[in-house]
């Protein structure tokens, strides 16, 4: 079995207190793994270590077999705080094209940006500034920016936590569609149990801080999911109950 992402024995401490203790998990190529855990349990620390944004105190992260030292090529990340993650002084197009500068030629850059914006349903919005868009649209821009990068590994840190419920459902489906079309490996961190079960191929449940892996659950729901049918399926209800029970302990 080939592994796109392999985290083994990861631990990290800020100052005196440990944030993450001995977390091991993996993701197969093209798999969408959701990490769910209580607020402040060290989920974001874990994701930052995978991204190469911080060097863990101990343990190792491997992407495609290579140990991570710094941000690996082919990585894209979507942050919860879209209003800061998008640069307000750049237009939507400017934001999406930014990471492509110096890597692809101008004409291809524009093409890719336009294509990525179309993908997230924002064609024709390239000339606007992020603040002129709603929160949900801004997060779409952030996703488009990640897509224009053509990532093989997509990390998402509570990406839909700051938008309203309807927008959230739309963005969840957008993510599933994007993943189906691009086939990248994705790791999504959330504190929302339903979201984790709805999106994931596998759910990794973390314990309260300091984080350890409480359980890994395979999600046996059909590949194509929909907001109403999937959430009503007995398997979905069973899984969310299971995750909730694990988190309660």
């Amino acid at each position: 079995m080939s592994v796109a992402l392999d985290v083994s024995g990861l631990a990290h401490r800020y100052g005196p207190g440990p944030a993450v203790v001995d977390v091991s998990l993996d993701a197969r190529p093209g798999e969408l793994v959701c990490i769910v855990g209580p607020s402040g349990c060290g989920k974001s620390t874990l994701l930052r270590a995978v991204a190469g944004l911080l060097t863990p105190t101990s343990g190792e992260v491997r992407v495609d077999g290579e140990p991570v030292r710094g941000v690996v090529p082919g990585l894209a990340m979507v942050f919860q705080d879209y209003s800061r993650s998008l640069y307000p002084w750049l237009t939507v197009r400017g934001n999406v094209e930014l990471p492509l500068r110096g890597h692809v030629e101008r004409s291809e850059r524009q093409e890719r940006a336009e294509e990525a914006l179309k993908h997230v349903g924002l064609d024709g919005q390239g000339g606007r500034y992020p603040r002129q868009l709603s929160g949900g649209m801004q997060q779409r821009v952030a996703i488009a920016r990640a897509l224009a990068h053509r990532p093989t590994l997509l990390l998402l840190d509570e990406p839909f936590a700051s938008v309203d419920a309807q927008t959230r459902a739309d963005l969840e489906d957008l993510l599933l569609r994007v993943r189906a079309e691009h086939g990248m490996t994705a790791l999504l961190v959330t504190h929302d149990i339903d979201e984790a079960v709805y999106l994931a191929d596998r759910v990794v449940v973390l314990s309260p801080a300091p984080a350890t892996v409480a359980a890994v659950l395979a999600v046996d729901l059909p590949g194509t999911r929909d907001q109403i049918g999937t959430r009503a399926a007995p398997e979905f209800v069973h899984l969310r109950t299971e995750v909730a029970r694990l988190l309660r302990r």
């Binding site: 944004l53 941000v71 990340m77 993650s85 930014l98």
Partner: protein, 249 residues
């Protein structure tokens, strides 16, 4: 916002009151505004003041300010992102900043003798501090999420500095540039008062020694107009640059 006409009314009334008061007082030290205006007009027509004194002085001032701005912004942005280096240098900056810039004039008189190099040095060294310190502040204030985003996007160095750090620091950089421009005008006059053979400051000192109070007042008014014009120009440029990144659309 009070309409423009009403805001200027106070100044107009003040001048209108000054006129009869100065006429009634009939003091050679306080000529009426109308006489000053006439004197100013006559001397502006007489190209000597403009070509031989106003333009060289303003040229030195703008050149000194431009040099200080370029060096201050570049060094400030680099230092603002340097972390450790800045911590070592900040006590030094705190000390140098506390030295009143006009005190540099005697020093540079000794080093450079009368003339343009001394005046340029005074202006550059005197006005670089507001630009440097505000650029440091601005560069240090790039939000952590914006920094992490840039790292994940693996931006080129030029994009990081020109498309992230510089625009993020722009509000503070521009405020520093404005402070240093008004300081440059002050230093221009002071350096000309003591160490020049032309310039408005030189004219001012000359008129004073000749008891030509009308010319003295004319130069003072001209300097006021100059300061006002430079400041308004920069404020206009500032709002143009910052309009793009204001919070509200």
């Amino acid at each position: 916002m009070i309409p423009l006409v009403r805001r200027w009314a106070v100044l107009v009334v003040a001048v209108a009151l000054w006129e009869p008061a100065a006429r009634a007082g009939d003091s050679p030290f306080f000529p009426p505004p109308s006489a000053i205006a006439v004197a100013l007009r006559d001397r502006l027509w007489d190209t000597d003041l403009v070509a031989a004194h106003l333009l060289p002085g303003v040229g030195r001032m703008l050149a000194g300010w431009a040099i200080a701005a370029l060096c201050g912004v570049v060094a400030g942005l680099l230092l603002g992102r340097s972390g450790v280096v800045l911590q070592y240098l900040s006590p030094l900056f705190a000390f140098v900043r506390a030295v009143p810039p006009p005190l540099l004039v005697p020093l540079f008189l000794v080093l450079f003798d009368l003339g343009t190099p001394m005046q340029l040095a005074t202006i550059v060294v005197g006005v670089i501090w507001p630009v440097l310190l505000s650029s440091i502040d601005g560069a240090a204030s790039v939000h952590p999420v914006q920094v992490e985003t840039a790292r994940v996007l693996q931006l080129r160095h030029t994009d990081w500095w020109l498309r992230v750090v510089l625009p993020a620091a722009a509000p503070k950089v521009l405020a520093g540039l404005r402070v240093s421009l008004s300081l440059a005008l002050i230093l221009m006059v002071i350096s000309e008062l003591v160490g020049a053979t032309n310039g408005l400051g030189f004219q001012l000192a000359l008129a004073q020694r000749r008891f030509d109070f009308l010319t003295m007042w004319a130069v003072v008014v001209l300097l006021g107009v100059l300061g006002y014009a430079f400041n308004s120009g920069l404020v206009a440029a500032e709002s143009r640059v910052l309009r793009r990144q204001r919070k509200e659309a």
